[in-house]
Amino acid sequence: MAKVYETVIGLEVHVELATKTKIFCACSTEFGGSPNSHTCPVCTGMPGSLPVLNKKVLEYAIAVGLATNCDITRYSKFDRKNYFYPDNPQNYQISQLYLPICRDGFVEIETENTSKKIRIHEIHMEEDAGKLIHDEWENCSLVDYNRSGVPLIEIVSEPDMSSAEEVITYLEKLRLIIQYLGASDCKLQEGSMRADVNLSVREVGAKEFGTRTEMKNLNSFKAIARAIEAERARQIELLEEGKEVIQETRRWDDNKEYSYAMRSKEDAMDYRYFPEPDLVPMMISEELLNDIKANQPELRTEKQKRYKEEFDIPEYDIDILTSSKHLADLFEETVAICKAPKKVSNWLMVETLRLMKEEEMEAEDLKFSAENLAKLISLTDEKAINSTVAKEVFQELFHHNIDPVVYVDEKGLRTVNDEGELRRVIEQIVNDNPKSVEDYLGGKEKAIGFLVGQTMKQMKGKANPDLINQFLKEELLKKA
């Protein structure tokens, strides 16, 4: 009889914290500077330079720990992790092994028909490495230390997951918590959230865990799902062939849908951790904890509750709007300006979601501002543009965050409210279309539709439809 296997998965999730400066020096963490322009002696490992901890890093780490039900380590230290690699300028990484800042937490995830606790083993703080670029012309590599020293937290789960769906649900949940805390934007594509997957398989019912492998370089939920499936299959195949799974680190290549071992004789994997002598320990007082708790931003469930009380919008809308911190922020900021929650919600729920789907975008990547969305809403309120024009303007807003007022004026899209001109056009249309006039007057009320269309066409779409209707009826009555 064929053996039945189960998959055991634990995750190591690295999250780049949203601080202004690096973890141990006053260099900017901003993306996109020219190579090595955000560096200093500290984050390039110059001789004699020394690290000083950014307080915000500790506060974010504790905030994430509290939101994931962790115990906060009251006496915590940094350790050095020693390994040679060019992206690591000191050839040691300042991290935490012996006394990580958070331990023993959990996150609850909803799967198809149940909910499940994923336990968190620990959360520790550490520094990110620089970036290596491979130069094909000279067959060498080039190092840019702009990312070196960017603060990270590593969230290490227990091996509590058993499928790709669970892994992704867990990651989405973590991401939402961290985004709500403002601790990170958690973008997988840009690498501000990265997940390493520890996976093993065992026969259903077995007591012992199988040998696990660690998979790196997973840049999207899709890649994670594919890598899990492939690794599960690879390990089962090995076992079926009577071979052993080797404990190793593997790098996932999402194009080839294949992972390969990152082994080298020169990588001893013996990191010689020891307490970092250049940094002093952290003593987390009750006071600091209470401060962080008091300054904790509103999390999703609190927000949902508040929306229900404050805004007259359907529960379904509330769920969608709060499913992303950015979307919720956009909603609230726009409402604060235009005081029309229902209308703002409509724009976000209908047009925004439609275009996001079309562009395969995430809410975090939305570029338009609350100010501009509010301007668009007031343009429609004032009937300065009609709904067709409004949708066109929104497209531009969505893609390029244009100022709707400027855009409408430049393109001459404002509804023409010059009654004299409209009456002249209508008079002309009525005179030119005796057949339709006859039909209408003969009781075919629908015939007016053709005349409205003709008028709008003549007005190049910029007429106020209510006025067209009103004036047309008046003009037709004259013919009766």
Binding site: M46, V52, P86, N91, R272, Y273, P277, D278
Partner: protein
Amino acid sequence: MSILNLSALALSEKIKAGEIKVTEVARLVLDQIKETEESIHSFVSLVDEDAVMKQAALLQEGIDKGELTSPLAGVPMAIKDNMCTNGIKTTCSSKILENFVPTYSSHAVEELEKAGALLIGKTNMDEFAMGSTTETSAFGITKNPVNIEHVPGGSSGGSAASVAAKQCYFSLGSDTGGSIRLPASYCGIVGMKPTYGTVSRYGLIAYGSSLDQIGPMAKTVADCATVLEVISTYDEKDSTSMKRSDTDFTAALVRDVKGMKIGIPRDYFTEGLQVEVKEAVLKAAEVFRSMGAIVEEFDLSLVEYAIPAYYTIASAEASSNLERFDGIKYGYRTKEYEGLHAMYKKTRSEGFGAEVKRRIMLGSFVLSSGYYDAYYLKALRTKALIKKAFDHAFASYDMILGPVAPTTAPKLGMSLSDPMKMYLGDIYTISANLAGLPAISVPCGFDQAGLPIGLQLTGDCFMEKKIIQAAFSYEQEMIQKEVE
């Protein structure tokens, strides 16, 4: 009295009084270096003569205008070559940094430059401060100005020799296991290691980060106190820098030891201690007694465990601190290599000297998987016990008196043949580093060969003032005796 023989403070008075110009002093010092450097070799690199003269003129202008009022204004100084100096080559006496020119200065150097001290050059040292003789430098050995057949001690041998050879008026050294006090003692000058955290380590190229401290080396206790006062400011760039409000060390230059309780560890006076050293130290103890101090013998305990604990901790930290020297960002890179790891290995193997490699290997081993607890944690536990033994001692005594080293300066070439023996030379100095304590080395006589002997006073943490006061009192007493 020749200008070159003056203490830094005495020189400073003459400059302030307009009796001598900074440019004249600079000229004298540059000439003295020309005359003596070939035989002593205190320096790895000298500041360009024209630059020194130009700076001297600027400093004189600042003094004349009343902008520079520090007692160190216009006083020529030398800096150990493991402290970064902006625009001036900083090598740690190692081939791996042979061409490294920092773009920043260490905090201590910045403070001295603000005070108007005149930098003359960067002094030779044991490579990466690993050694007690200044013979492991990649740029030649330094000789003891008292007798050039002998070593100056180390690792701050160049800093000690430059003061002793009157090539400058004071210098900075660094002390990880005795590297200021030992060469001060061998060269017959005063050297002081302050409490850990008193002087910022920013810009000091690390050897053992938890043990390293920068300190002054000079002709007199007063000079040392003056320099220490200038460099002991709080520095937010060093997390281990302490905010102290009691750094007015010159206030302790008071000749009075009445009622001070001084303990002499019986366990310091064991086999291996040169008779003349022992006698000189006990004689100094008598001087303290005669001045009204209460001097008693006691058992400190654990003395013989300090060296093995020290070598474990210092080597472990060094193995990590020296990982950054990899031929990528600065310093030496090997010429030919096949791939990344070969580049690392060849660069480091060619760039580091034998003693440095020895300690890196030992340090990597004691931290490696399976040995961390047995070696490294055991050493950290021993360190805790040693700290406790000192706490116990300082509950009864204001300071501990003893020798700096078991012998006077050995002959050149004698120590390196047997590293274990060289390590034992640090037996009296190392525990102050493990426990973070301040300690000062003051000359207390000569052996029959005419080599200087040093007396060590070790204080409780943050009690620099006590040992400065005691050392100052002793020094003044001895000067008076000499006059009489």
